[in-house]
């Protein structure tokens, strides 16, 4: 019984890591993974010609690339892509457009 109590949530945690990695978007059943997942957030960059392209936050620091509040991430994306004039955040707690 005790082994079952430990094994089920541990297995669920392992399955989620295998499926969703370090940016989980779901909470699996019978797992006690409450308040640990977040819907994905998309960043779009606008360059001087007005062209819009999706931005990859992967190269940023692991913790910082998850931050979806304030200017932390837009500022870093602007610094990384010198041709951008604006970064747009879609989803998260503070969606919106940020000028570089």
């Amino acid at each position: 019984m005790a082994a079952l109590q430990l094994a089920v949530p541990a297995a669920m945690l392992g399955i989620r890591w295998a499926q969703e990695g370090s940016r989980p978007v779901s909470e699996l059943p019978a797992s006690f993974q409450m308040y640990s997942a977040e819907p994905p957030i998309t960043y779009l960059g606008t360059d001087r010609q007005g062209r819009v392209r999706p931005l990859d936050v992967g190269p940023l620091l692991p913790v910082l690339r998850a931050v979806d509040t304030g200017r932390v991430l837009p500022d870093r994306l602007c610094a990384r892509h010198a041709d951008l004039v604006a970064v747009q955040r879609i989803g998260g707690t503070q969606p919106g457009s940020y000028r570089c």
Partner: protein, 239 residues
């Protein structure tokens, strides 16, 4: 006399309010009513105690079977940790042969709950503050009374929460930490109730979850007898 059985009975009845408000989803109405009746009967019998361990085991079995029925009626229930926790507690009470074994299984449940909850939060989304930020934005109490917290506070709060849950996974196994652990758990779950309640139903579910967790801590610490009729045995088992 207050006991873990009685308190659990009250929590089962609180959860029944949630079930009634939702109504039947997958099950035929008659079967759903039977499941609800079994759930309420189990809760009432536990609340009415004090019960001998064997009688309490029957009531917990009713709660366990009805809980499975609720999960079938509404598959999302299995993603709701309060019902899963109540069912796990019921399972421990059903299979335990005596008070000492019941307390052992409940302690294992506490460790499984908090250790996995802490480990599940060790990810970019949580450590980066997003999950807490979303909770704060959604929480009517916070957004009405307090400003949006700065990033450093979100990051510190995230680390603090993980550390607290990791500690609560350990306290049931260290005799001198069981009492403080119960207080810490009560504080943590009260805070969650205040901050994360986005609607009355969410508040009700958080109360059931937090109440069940604190009940387990209190029983583990010997502050609450595990079953009303066996207080002396509880004290001996808690040592």
């Amino acid at each position: 006399m207050l006991s873990a059985d009685r308190l659990a009975g009250a929590l089962v009845l609180v959860k029944a309010v949630d079930v009634v408000l939702r109504g039947p989803v997958e099950l035929p109405a008659l079967l759903w009513a039977a499941v609800l009746a079994l759930w309420v009967a189990g809760g009432l019998a536990l609340l009415a105690g004090p019960l001998r361990l064997a009688t309490a085991r029957l009531c917990w079995a009713a709660v366990l079977i009805a809980g499975a029925g609720l999960a079938i009626d509404y598959p999302l229930e299995l993603r709701r940790h309060h019902l899963v926790l109540l069912m796990a507690v019921a399972l421990g009470a059903v299979v335990a042969r005596d008070v000492a074994e019941r307390l052992l299984l409940w302690r294992v449940q506490l460790t499984a709950l908090y250790a996995v909850a802490a480990l599940a939060k060790v990810n970019e989304s949580f450590l980066g503050g997003d999950v807490l930020a979303r909770g704060v934005v959604a929480a009517p109490l916070w957004s009405a009374l307090l400003p949006f917290p700065p990033l450093w506070l979100l990051l510190l709060a995230g680390l603090g929460l993980i550390a607290t849950e990791a500690l609560l996974a350990v306290t049931p196994w260290v005799a001198r930490l069981r009492g403080p652990g119960t207080l810490l758990a009560a504080g943590l779950h009260t805070l969650a109730l205040l901050v994360a309640s986005t609607s009355p139903l969410v508040a009700l579910r958080l109360a059931v979850f937090g109440g069940t967790a604190v009940l387990l801590h209190a029983a583990s610490a010997g502050l609450l007898p595990a079953s009303g009729a066996v207080r002396a045995a509880d004290r001996a088992a808690a040592r």
